[in-house]
């Protein structure tokens, strides 16, 4: 009996350990494959030039149009998401502090909102766009992605704000500050690390999402100059080039894949470092 127990213990310890370490392997494997496939095609030209005439037959050019388009869309959407998300998160934690049921309900709805698939946002954005008589453009893409990432901004920021001790609220209120001052002067400073994490997370999500911009941002070989022009995005550039029958073009998709992966990796790592740096508590 003792022996059986010990074997069971050991067996499950090894099994769970294997599952855990296999995740590191999977991540390493994915990154290795992406880099191995694309590194030969990744030249400076890929990054700093837009596609030229014969690009889709294997000619000269790069994916600058998609890189810039993706950055514009992600930055624009993040700014809009901040304008809506930050006050909303502060409101939950300042004005609704004394209504815990209301807070719980709002968090519940926001969590559910987080789960809506991006293709639904894409279809909705497309419909609104058609209704307003717009064509696929940078602006439509920005707005659609903003819908997608605002719940992420609110919920991530809120996670940090709700750990702020109650005493700090009470101290600020007892000194005669209004709840708005409490929100923008005390909670904002105290939860700044959460704000940074939220913004970077939302940005990373916005730059990598393809389904929502598929209908709304369109696709073009030019670097967009104005809000009403269509814009290419990196995920879509990869997607379209992968569908090409010409190996040269497919190889470029792999290289573009490296660019996108590196951008997302940088954002993910810097989110971690920055949130540690700006954190006001000693807990993490």
């Amino acid at each position: 009996m003792r022996r059986r127990k010990r074997i069971e213990e050991l067996f499950f310890k090894i099994l769970t350990g294997l599952a855990c370490y296999s995740l590191i392997l999977v991540l390493g494997y994915i990154i290795l494959i992406i880099f191995k496939k694309g590194i030969n095609m990744l030249t400076l030209d890929m990054i700093i030039t837009a596609p030229t005439g014969g690009y889709y037959y294997g000619g000269e050019g790069g994916v600058l149009n998609a890189i810039m388009g993706s950055l514009y869309i992600a930055i624009g959407a993040t700014v809009i998401a901040m304008i809506f998300g930050v006050p909303a998160a502060l409101f939950i934690n300042s004005h609704l502090q004394h209504k815990p049921r209301m807070q719980g309900f709002i968090r519940y709805l926001l969590d559910a909102l987080w789960g809506i698939p991006s293709i639904v946002y894409g279809a909705f954005g497309f419909m609104v766009m058609i209704m307003m008589g717009m064509s696929a453009s940078l602006l439509a893409g920005i707005i659609t992605v903003a819908f997608l990432i605002t719940p992420i901004v609110i919920r991530t920021f809120d996670e940090v704000l709700c750990t702020i001790p109650r005493g700090l609220h009470e101290a600020a209120l007892s000194l005669g500050s209004t709840r708005t001052q409490l929100a923008f002067k005390v909670l904002w400073k105290q939860g700044f690390s959460g704000f940074i994490t939220a913004v970077l997370l939302a940005f990373g999500r916005g730059i990598g999402d393809a389904a929502s911009v598929l209908f709304t941002a369109g696709y073009t070989d030019l670097v967009p100059q104005y809000l009403d022009e269509p814009a290419a995005t990196l995920p879509l550039a990869i997607f379209f080039q992968l569908g090409s029958p010409i190996p040269e073009v497919r190889n470029r998709a792999y290289a573009a894949g490296i660019i996108l992966t590196v951008i997302v990796l940088i954002i993910s790592v810097s989110a971690r470092l920055m949130s540690r740096k700006f954190s006001k508590t000693n807990l993490n």
């Binding site: 069971e8 213990e9 855990c20 994915i30 494959i33 006050p87 559910a112 789960g115 719940p151 989110a271």
Partner: protein, 295 residues
Amino acid sequence: MSRRKAIIQYFSQGWMMIALFVILLLPLIIGIALTCKSGPIFRLCGLDELLFSSIWKPTGGQFGFLPFILSSLYVTILSFIFSAPVCILAAIYLTQFASKRLISFMLPVIDILAGIPSVVYGMWGILIVVPFVGESLAPFFNVNSSGYTILSGGIVLAVMCIPYVLNMLIESFKTVPNGLVEATLSLGATKWESIKHSVLRKCSTGIISAFGLGLAKAFGETLAVMMVVGNVVQISGNPLEAGYPLPALIANNYGEMLSIPMYDSALMLASLILLVIVMLINLFFRYLIYKTQKR
């Protein structure tokens, strides 16, 4: 309170409230808009015909969503079968056995896995999973297959869902009080027995919810699946056949949707079905999580 302060207070508070309400009303607005837009197709055929007919001929005015819904379910369930054991085992190891150093190394790994864009997963699927299924797995079963199959979709989706589900499982396991494990240990149970009998039982709701939410996420995932699943309209029980999930239908056909009558309504209805299913699953399991957290 000075007058200036009062005005600032008034406006900033107003803005905070407006921002919050706009966001909270968003799913309702999306739902209503999609319902309005998919209205015309209901005049053509009834809901039961739309949902349970398997004939898809947009040019002939026949819209049966059954092949798409079944494909979606099939891919989702396959991904669940592949990812669930890994998730739960890894979550147990990370919260019960792992050293602090390993945890601080694994958390960024999970973060990065969760952050990799779906198109990159799709690319990895085309490079690795599709050839593997087409050239190694299918000949093994004596089937001729291109590799662009439901099974490939399931595998890619499983890898994508692991970090998402794993994060929620870790959150849930963390809520188990240390005293509970210590109590069972002091009664003479081994570490694994205490996990099996107290931790897993205590977290059962959390585990079910995490898997449920993972399913919802897998159901709505678009691009990565679409790249490897083959996109052929058919109903087949064989995972080595191609499929055509609902999100892929929407993504693939938006270009033509304004040129064929009723096609746009049909696609909006597809989005609505997606939204309703995912929202219901989300609301239900999130409710379970909140209920257990309160207690």
